[in-house]
Subunit: 672 residues, 2 copies
Amino acid sequence: TPKLQKLFLAVAACDSSGASNSGCESSKESSRSSTPVLDTDRTDRLRDKMRRRTESGDHWFSLEFFPPRTASGAVNLISRFDRMGSGGPLFIDVTWHPAGDPGSDKETSSMMIASTAVNYCGLESILHLTCCNQTKEKITGYLSKAKRLGLKNIMALRGDPMGADWEEEEAGFNYATDLVKHIRCEFDDYFDICVAGYPTGHPEAESYDEDLRHLKEKVDAGADFIITQLFFRADTFLKFVRDCRAIGITCPILPGIFPIQGYQSLRQLVKLSKLEVPEEIMQVIEPIKDNDAAIRNYGIEQAVGMCRVLLESGEVPGLHFYTLNREVATMEVLRQLGLWIEDPRRTLPWAVSAHPKRKVEDVRPIFWASRPKSYIYRTQDWDDFPNGRWGNSSSPAFGELNDYYLFYLKSKSSKDALLKMWGEELTSEQSVYEVFTSYITAQPNVAGHKVMCLPWNDDPLAPETNLLKDELDKVNRRGVLTINSQPSINGKPSSDPIVGWGPPGGYVFQKAYLEFFTSSENVTALLKVLKKYEPRVNYHIVNVHGQNTTNAHDMQPNAVTWGIFPGREIVQPTVVDPVSFLYWKDEAFALWIEQWAKLYEDESPSRMIIKYIHDNYFLVNLVDNDFPLDNCLWQVIDDMFELLDNPPEEQPAEQTAEQPNDEQSDKEQPGK
Amino acid sequence: TPKLQKLFLAVAACDSSGASNSGCESSKESSRSSTPVLDTDRTDRLRDKMRRRTESGDHWFSLEFFPPRTASGAVNLISRFDRMGSGGPLFIDVTWHPAGDPGSDKETSSMMIASTAVNYCGLESILHLTCCNQTKEKITGYLSKAKRLGLKNIMALRGDPMGADWEEEEAGFNYATDLVKHIRCEFDDYFDICVAGYPTGHPEAESYDEDLRHLKEKVDAGADFIITQLFFRADTFLKFVRDCRAIGITCPILPGIFPIQGYQSLRQLVKLSKLEVPEEIMQVIEPIKDNDAAIRNYGIEQAVGMCRVLLESGEVPGLHFYTLNREVATMEVLRQLGLWIEDPRRTLPWAVSAHPKRKVEDVRPIFWASRPKSYIYRTQDWDDFPNGRWGNSSSPAFGELNDYYLFYLKSKSSKDALLKMWGEELTSEQSVYEVFTSYITAQPNVAGHKVMCLPWNDDPLAPETNLLKDELDKVNRRGVLTINSQPSINGKPSSDPIVGWGPPGGYVFQKAYLEFFTSSENVTALLKVLKKYEPRVNYHIVNVHGQNTTNAHDMQPNAVTWGIFPGREIVQPTVVDPVSFLYWKDEAFALWIEQWAKLYEDESPSRMIIKYIHDNYFLVNLVDNDFPLDNCLWQVIDDMFELLDNPPEEQPAEQTAEQPNDEQSDKEQPGK
């Protein structure tokens, strides 16, 4: 019935005959379960994402950073990536400073910062690379390393010649065009390549037209898009785009936006880039040059105005911001433009890594929920990542976490700040309980300081955990030291602002989860209580020595978060996996010592108290499988307290067989 | 705290140090997603299942069948396997008849029947094998073939010597012991081996004690368990077990139970097996020998009484029944003993194949829900089976289904019966609609015959589909010819008698599904209506020529049945996969011709009507993604009818662009 044909708009890739013939048979070898279910974006290259966003008319933004000078600057920059990443940039880029050992493994190198942004912050990233005064071998080495680290995009630049005696080299890199050609030659189409455009012409170019011709050469050599140098008038950029189009440059051209943030930084930048600040701007700024706030406000206003003109021109699909590694001005401009995504949709409950190897990953153990960077670090050598299902206990080994001071794993707080939060001096286990309680309730501790983090949690309590605040408060006071929890959820819309994730139109579910440290006395009572909750509650209890008990059937994982979406298979992004738990417990126990005990003098009572907890407490996780019912885990804890408060009359025989004499162990305990 | 150690009963396989060392690292290569989630039984050998059931004190039963003589006998036996399989036998076994070409590919061979039981009926099966007068090469050939077909258990027998001149061969097989040794020698531990025991001694043995020694040899040679010849008194068996234990036979010994079902069959069996029927039984039977019902009732009563004694003895973990390929007597005995499982728990919504290669399979497309044997047949060559997730459209190719007359795919009904149900003569499409309506409503057709099957469904409507009966009735009357559907389910207990499946304590869910054939006129209206239901409803519409349209995102599968269980990952056993649908449509359309049109003379109006539908109708599937809400698919169909009944005023321009002139096609249609 050919008459109907015109109705069939979306014709499937395989038609009847194709499906039963070679077209599909050739894919018989392919692994069935290696397909991403959630977000096709994750498989795509930056240039494809850019094209789709441009086609949809949906404006976007990107952010430029430079590498930090110090290790603590690196820690700060990474947490800035996390904060600014939440606003939804299409990508970030990291500049390259030949003098700063940019390709090294130092925590301040361009290479490590960009790699961390991709792997640990989940940001699509562009690494800058300059070529002048570099050998081809050196450049190829940098590119190979970048590729190995999961970087997929390069901003190809000439860079500033070092020294006055620089001359063009015969077979070397003299222009960015040479670098673009080299990348395409050595790495084929692997990298997306960006090049720089100069709306007023490159300062060293013979002329504006000559510079445009150079830009055309760069694009013809294989660049995918252009980011421009900063400029101060929308017209400057719009004329530049017209001129580019006129000579046949068809790729995207992104305007480089520089919100003026201070008098000194403006002067410095202008000097370096040999740009001229328009008279009308200087006239405003000069009179207020000592008033930072006034200049910043003007900068925001000026940038917003210019961006509005650019976006309304229809020539600008997205805006590129020179942040100078600062947050406030850029975020404010983006907010005023309506481009900052206040409440970004989460693809999964956890931030997806941008490393291409991890693109199919959609299941993780819940234990690292507050330490995703540690999880990524410890699994970085895996050949494939769990997809669709975690699988059984024969999961790949986790890498050791011996260095808790890697810059991307390090606490954002200084030792001083930590001591204020966690106590200059601890006098008993009770004072530890109070730290947990202060953290949970967001109330100041006895010394008047708010506890903003714990060793297991470098951020304040998540909005979701806030749902459990009262119960958490109550149990922490009595030494059930919670470090991870989630409420049960029986089918909330995937768009729910607190617990939602995944594509629209879906429903998300959770089983209630609770993880805590507690004393062996409590565990003794808890195990008796848990018998009443079989098989509703799954538990896993382990101490630092590896003594453990669980009722996990065949050591199988338990899915505790899942989502049902239109036209998709089921997604189950978090599991409680009994085997992973034994890897996690090493890390969880070590954090007592590495992050907390070591704040105090060796042999000091404070350190001994933490050491005692580390050596004697158990780490417990509980799952309530009956997600449609009210969470029973609080009742489990209440029952445990009840049993401790009102122990049944003891049979002499039972005492020997079942109850360790816990009175004794109290005497070994310091600080009581 | 070693004091606590005694509390930790269930010590995990990996302790702290083991987990971070080689123990788990060696499993890094293993595929994460290849683990069965649901039923550990599925990975186990028969002897392990038997051991576990015995240890649990949970009595079980098994069933013996002989291969049929005719092809239609094979069809009947296979559907008997399905019915008797639903009662929960631990295994079935299929006897070996050297004269009947037992190792061939004929549909009546022992080999094919046992293979079908395993692969298509999901039954753990034992293939008998006799060795006398056979070369080692021949026997090895049979065993290799059995292994290739997925058979894992062999009953090793000598068999009856053929001809009077049989003599022991020097290097050949003279006793079952030789066969057991040969299997262990050639196939190591691959097969579980069963041997025969004779409670009153083998008729050819020199003595009872001599025979016991032979049995000991068979067990020592590598047999895993023993099934006995039939007997008539519990004491006979219990003495035999004591005697076996006394000489060191420790393996399970299963009593062979023969419910007397008729005078002639009893006499014949007794003659063949050289057994003596006890006087007290003959005294009851002789007087009623012409009253079949009376004998059968006596046989049931006698068997039940004997089985009770056996089970109460504590020596008998399970009962083996000689069924003589009949159902009634054995089922009745089992019911009276409480061993027949009336409402077996389903592991998954569909019957799991017992082939070891398929043991991890836990996802299938919904299309073959009523034709699981066809699905198994078409996927038999797959190297691995979907587990945890179906994966994307690059699924392995389905085998062609050219032969709709394979005995395990064949309709149970004769051509005559089909003509009575589906009409001796069709006069219009309407008469086809009426066949569907009769099937749905279980009301007799115009000729007074109940329609018990359709080409797409060889069984009466499932209880689950009954939930939708009224709606199905209504739409089929108007030419929406439904062949598959399920209601939406928002978290019913896994123990629900109609829709439940999987382990206890879980919750099952479904998205509403509807699949039907309908005319191109209806499809034109339907596509307009479906625009209102984006993205709530996913659809896929295709005709026999492969013209198709879908709104499936990226051709991804949609999970339509899933379950959440304590301590497990999510299980999602059925999906709507757009690519598989294109394979299914070939089969679904072919059934019109192969099973229905071919009932009628070539060129007859009846055949032409079916042919017209085959050539012009579309196959449609619809999924309502909003499973917590009321199923909207009926509303979609109602809207379609509404649009057809009250078409909007047509704009001249639209008529050309969007609406094919469907009036024309009516004229080409025969029988109107």
